[in-house]
């Protein structure tokens, strides 16, 4: 798909234009980009036919790393790698255990780990301030502490830059032999092993990479909303990430960003239109996508080109 880079550039431009024209959307779009980065990880695992129904734990790890460290080290340029490192570390440890499992067990074990994390974040009140969460205040950007409007632009810019970076990374990875072996896990894992490709190692690498991106996404969410609560680790949050992956379409690294933008916008507009029944609207959108456009937004776009 030669048009992918072109579309990515167009998309990035559209986002910038949107954020410029409608200031309050800048916040929504930053969140969407952050979640899109996390969903890239879901996409990797989906390639291997595995659904992580607990991926919000990596978002939470990233977000809480920022929340815990910010009072002593408010520098965004240090916090981001720190959050990525923590999430990657956990991803490696949990991944070593998880890659032995497939399908429902893989999904449910991810869910279990996420729920353990969620429960601990909620329970260990003395450390985490429980469900109230922790406020992230006074971040600095390369040593400066700009005014709020500038700061919002900086966060948006960082999110967009990282989104492009990780999007490229994932594209390259998926096209590499390692990335193509992922699809082998989905369809014919035993044959993969016959060919001498260690399936577990392939999956582990993807899992750790997905954890890293989850951590970065979570850190961005924390820096943008500047308040972190355990809710970010709850299973419905994980469900939303999978939702976004399918909404955007699993066919391209652009999918997660299309999905996340669509998701956040639908959520905001649904909440504005009918505050009591926004969940129902989101659910209905999801059903319509699955039943009538299983390729997601990306599928719709690429089908239009082919036509």
């Amino acid at each position: 798909m030669k048009r992918e880079p072109l579309l990515a550039a167009l998309g990035a431009f559209a986002l910038i234009a949107c954020a410029w024209a409608v200031p309050w959307l800048k916040f929504i779009l930053t969140i969407a980009l952050a979640k899109g980065i996390a969903v890239l990880g879901i996409l990797l695992l989906l390639r291997a036919g595995q659904v992580s129904f607990g991926h919000s734990m990596f978002l939470a790890l990233g977000a809480y790393t920022v929340a815990f460290m910010a009072p002593t080290e408010p520098e965004v340029l240090l916090l981001l790698p720190a959050a990525a490192l923590v999430a990657t570390g956990f991803g490696l440890v949990i991944g070593l255990f998880l890659v032995r499992y497939r399908d429902i067990f893989f999904g449910m074990l991810n869910l279990a780990f996420a729920m353990v994390l969620y429960s601990l974040l909620e329970k260990l009140y003395a450390i985490t301030k429980g469900t109230d969460g922790i406020r992230v205040a006074g971040l600095t950007f390369a040593g400066t502490q700009p005014e709020r409007p500038v700061q919002e632009w900086v966060m948006f810019g960082i999110a967009l830059g990282l989104a492009i970076l990780f999007g490229l990374l994932v594209s390259v990875y998926l096209a590499s032999p390692m990335g193509r072996a992922l699809a082998g896990i989905k369809t014919r894992e035993t044959r993969l092993e016959f060919m001498g490709v260690p399936a577990r190692r392939v999956l582990l690498f993807a899992y750790v990479l997905s954890a890293l991106m989850g951590g970065v996404g979570g850190a961005l969410v924390a820096m943008t909303t500047r308040h972190v609560t355990p809710q970010i680790a709850y299973w419905t949050a994980s469900g939303e990430l999978v939702f976004i992956a399918i909404l955007g379409g699993a066919g391209s690294a652009l999918g997660p960003f299309l999905g996340a933008t669509a998701f956040e916008l639908v959520r905001v507009y649904a909440a504005a239109a009918v505050a009591e029944a926004w969940q129902m609207i989101l659910g209905a959108v999801l059903l319509v996508v699955i039943l009538f456009a299983p390729g997601g937004v990306w599928g719709l776009l690429s089908r239009r080109w082919r036509a």
């Binding site: 234009a17 949107c18 024209a21 409608v22 200031p23 309050w24 959307l25 916040f27 929504i28 969140i31 909620e122 329970k123 009140y125 301030k129 429980g130 469900t131 109230d132 969460g133 406020r135 205040a137 709020r148 969410v221 943008t224 909303t225 500047r226 308040h227 972190v228 609560t229 809710q231 970010i232 949050a237 916008l265 959520r267 905001v268 507009y269 909440a271 504005a272 239109a273 505050a275 009591e276 926004w278 969940q279």
Partner: protein, 438 residues
């Protein structure tokens, strides 16, 4: 302005709905009297805390309707924009921005949850948008940092815990053991910290036999009830509310825990209607304020009756305390606009002028009147009593009520609640007024 609109519309090329939403905020910055007064209200519309959020929203709609029928505020009709707190803080802070930057609301009523309040108040500082904390109780808000644009139009955790504690010390001075069972979140933890500080200061030596913080929204308390039955504390404190409190009290009633221990329930009021006769008489109940249906001496009895009837006629239920808190915020908003408009000689106030009007404001609540202190905290009296049944209500209401003046049970400006409570002496009890008749 028109150019800007075309630019935005052209850029986004969005559909009709999206377009209207994106452009809706256009007129907000205009000087002079706006065509409508937009009020952003964050409340729980889903999840377990919607037991508070939805009645409050319903009350707000009824009151706004009345206000608009009477010509609005300063001649401007009021229009609420409700936002659901349940999806989480990241969503809520986005919604706060949307309310201010896009919907162009002129004032925000923020939040039931303390977490939501803690997240929204700094935004009110940054965006210089007057924010009324209409229901959350955390003492941290004004004690940790000043918030020039935030005002709490009701009481808060410290008086709401201290008043029942004082009542207990008066009513059952010789208790020796106590157990606490609170919801596991800020209010549950904070209220216990406040209680413990006050109790240890005024009655040292009480043994705490169990400290339980079951998960927020827990659906079963049978194990906890068993443990309380086995531990036999003289007093059981629970600041729980909503479905959690209803479940706890029903299971306690069924298993005769009420016969073994005296309950202290600072937030019982909102659950009494649901519990009906299941609630047992003779236990200490509070209301996060003075707004009991059987308030013995409301400032204006006719107003309280009108208020209750307004809600009852529509929903066939008595209004619960979040309805009162919502009414207090609306009443404060009316009073502040009147004050600000008068100060400006009939002109419409800007953000700064509006905020100025709130400082030191006194406004009427359905039962009494409330004054906002210089730090933004409202002074709301507290009434605590013993649960009892009478002919008039099919649910428990307090008797032997004590009205605690807000100034007496609130932490003085500039002090931290826990430190202040620790500094109380047993003779503080002498200040407690005598029970009121009724």
């Amino acid at each position: 302005m028109t150019e800007a609109v075309t630019r935005r519309a052209a850029l986004l090329g969005a559909g009709a709905t999206a377009g209207s939403l994106l452009l809706a905020g256009g007129g907000a910055q205009a000087q002079g009297k706006p065509s409508e007064l937009r009020v952003g209200i964050t409340t729980f519309l889903s999840g377990s805390a919607s037991v508070f959020g939805v009645p409050a929203k319903q009350m707000a709609e009824l009151l706004f309707e009345e206000i608009n029928k009477a010509g609005g505020i300063g001649g401007v009709p009021v229009r609420p924009f409700f936002v659901d707190e349940a999806p989480g803080t990241d969503h809520l802070v986005g919604e706060f921005r949307r309310l201010v930057q896009n919907e162009g609301v002129q004032i925000v009523f923020a939040s039931i949850s303390s977490g939501s309040c803690l997240a929204c108040t700094p935004l009110s500082d940054e965006m210089k948008k007057t924010t009324l904390l209409w229901d959350c109780g955390t003492q941290r808000i004004f004690e940790e940092a000043p918030h020039p644009y935030a005002f709490r139009t009701q009481g808060y955790g410290t008086p709401e815990v201290l008043a029942p504690l004082l009542y207990l010390l008066k009513h059952k001075p010789d208790f020796r053991t106590l157990a606490v069972i609170n919801q596991d979140y800020a209010w549950g933890r904070d209220s216990w910290e406040l209680w413990k500080a006050g109790m240890d200061a005024m009655k040292p030596g009480v043994r705490v036999v169990a400290e339980m913080f079951p998960r927020f929204g827990a659906t079963d308390y049978s194990t906890e009830v068993t443990r309380l039955l086995a531990a036999r504390p003289d007093v059981i404190l629970s600041t729980s509310w909503g479905g959690d409190l209803v479940t706890l009290l029903r299971q306690s009633a069924e298993r005769r825990l009420f016969e073994r221990s005296t309950f202290v329930l600072p937030i019982a009021e909102a659950s009494m209607q649901i519990l009906g006769r299941t609630m047992q008489p003779g236990h200490i109940i509070g209301a996060r304020g003075d707004h009991w249906n059987n308030h013995p001496s409301p400032k204006d009895p006719a107003r309280l009756k009108r208020f209750v009837d307004l809600y009852r006629s529509k929903y066939n239920e008595y209004p619960i305390y979040p309805c009162h808190h919502m009414a207090q915020a609306i009443s404060a908003m009316q009073a502040a606009y009147a004050k600000a408009i008068a100060a400006k000689g009939g002109g419409w106030p800007n953000d700064q002028e509006l905020a100025n009007a709130f400082r030191g404001l006194t406004f009427d609540s359905p039962t009494s009147s409330i004054t906002l202190r210089e730090d933004g905290q409202g002074l709301e009296d507290q009434i605590v009593g013993l649960s009892s049944f009478n002919q008039q209500y099919p649910f428990a209401v307090p008797k032997d009520m004590i009205l605690f003046p807000a100034a007496m049970v609130s932490t003085p400006v500039g002090q931290k609640s826990v430190d202040w409570l620790k500094s109380l002496k047993p003779d503080f009890l002498n200040q407690v007024p005598a029970p009121i008749a009724g």
